[in-house]
Amino acid sequence: MATQHYTSTAKALHWLMAILLFGLLALGFYMHDLPLSPDKLKLYTWHKWAGVSAFLLVGFRLLWRFTHRPPALPGSMPKFMQFAAHAGHLALYALMLAIPLSGWLMSSAKGFQTVWFGVLPIPDLLEKNKEVGDLLQTVHMSLNLLFVAVLVGHIGAALKHHFIDKDDILIRMAPRHSKEK
């Protein structure tokens, strides 16, 4: 059976966001423990800019997802595995929305407004409040740890499909060679 690929746009979004989100995760965990310095403030600002960008990309991606049906899962997959796959994807989308939102609200509550690329001010939804800021910091951190866990499952599943089940789940998200079709 010919492989049913995702649309090129869906693939581009998937891989672009994969790079962006790994960068954001790494930067987030790294910058958090740095001693205060001009570089630290710069990294925080970049992290916030990238986070807003990721949020917008997720929004576009969801729009694309709702208007373009992804290829169906292989019929060889047991029902509960199919259910787990959908639940995993749902969790990824939910976290991709919730994480930047929690970061933005945390910035608001801590009194550091987010200004996208130093140009577009994102309104502060929350008043400055230390307790709320600290709470949201914990929320942002916890959601990210959860995200890492779900990502491990996501990548692990993709590799299992490719190397153990030997189906086309990974291939259909891979960049297509123009010769196929």
Binding site: P35, L36, S37, P38, L41, K110, F112, G118, P121
Partner: protein
């Protein structure tokens, strides 16, 4: 006749007006805040501890006197690590220079409820002349004074070493204050 009546009425009122002098600063209704820019984004901060002396008679604004002593270690930059950093040597060096001081030298009346206070601001052992526009609003036996002025942190060597450049933390820092003072 009318004019004379007016003048008389005014003359009798004047001594009463002179008696109104705001001198009792109410610390809990006063504030020293600042706004600094971090990569172009305005961030609010404040000082929790300060004391202020004031003598202000609305009828004789030019005779007014004001002074501030700000406990620099009481800074709130919005982040605990920021407070710690700013108290350190590169910024305020609060161990060697615990207080910032403002002492007025002259006051100009700008008409209405506006005044312009000239004075000397000393931070971290460096003194600069500053001019502070302020407004006052009297309500019964208390008056609220609001003012704001901008200093350049480099003039006081606030933020040395890695912080000396202005690309991350801007040179301009706006100081905003409010003093609420009552009559005796």
């Amino acid at each position: 006749m009318k004019r004379l009546a007016c003048a008389l009425a005014f003359a009798t009122l004047l001594p009463a007006a002179h008696a109104v002098e705001y001198t009792q600063v109410q610390p809990d209704k006063s504030a020293v805040n600042f706004v600094y820019k971090q990569m172009g984004v305005a961030v609010d901060g404040k000082f929790r501890k300060f004391s202020s002396q004031l003598k202000f008679d609305p009828a004789k604004p030019t005779a007014a006197k004001a002074s501030f002593d700000v406990e620099l270690a009481s800074v709130d930059t919005g982040a605990a690590e920021g407070d710690e950093e700013v108290a350190g040597k590169a910024w305020f060096n609060t161990k060697a220079f615990p207080t910032a001081q403002f002492v007025s030298t002259s006051v100009k009346a700008l008409g209405g409820n506006k005044v312009e206070v000239a004075g000397r601001l000393t931070i971290k052992g460096k003194t600069q002349d500053v001019v502070v526009p302020a407004t006052f609003t009297a309500q019964g036996n208390t008056a609220v004074f609001d003012g704001a002025f901008t200093i350049r942190r480099a003039d006081f060597t606030i933020g040395e070493g890695a912080w000396a450049k202005f690309d991350i933390v801007a040179n301009d820092v706006q100081i905003k204050f409010r003093i609420t003072a009552a009559t005796k």
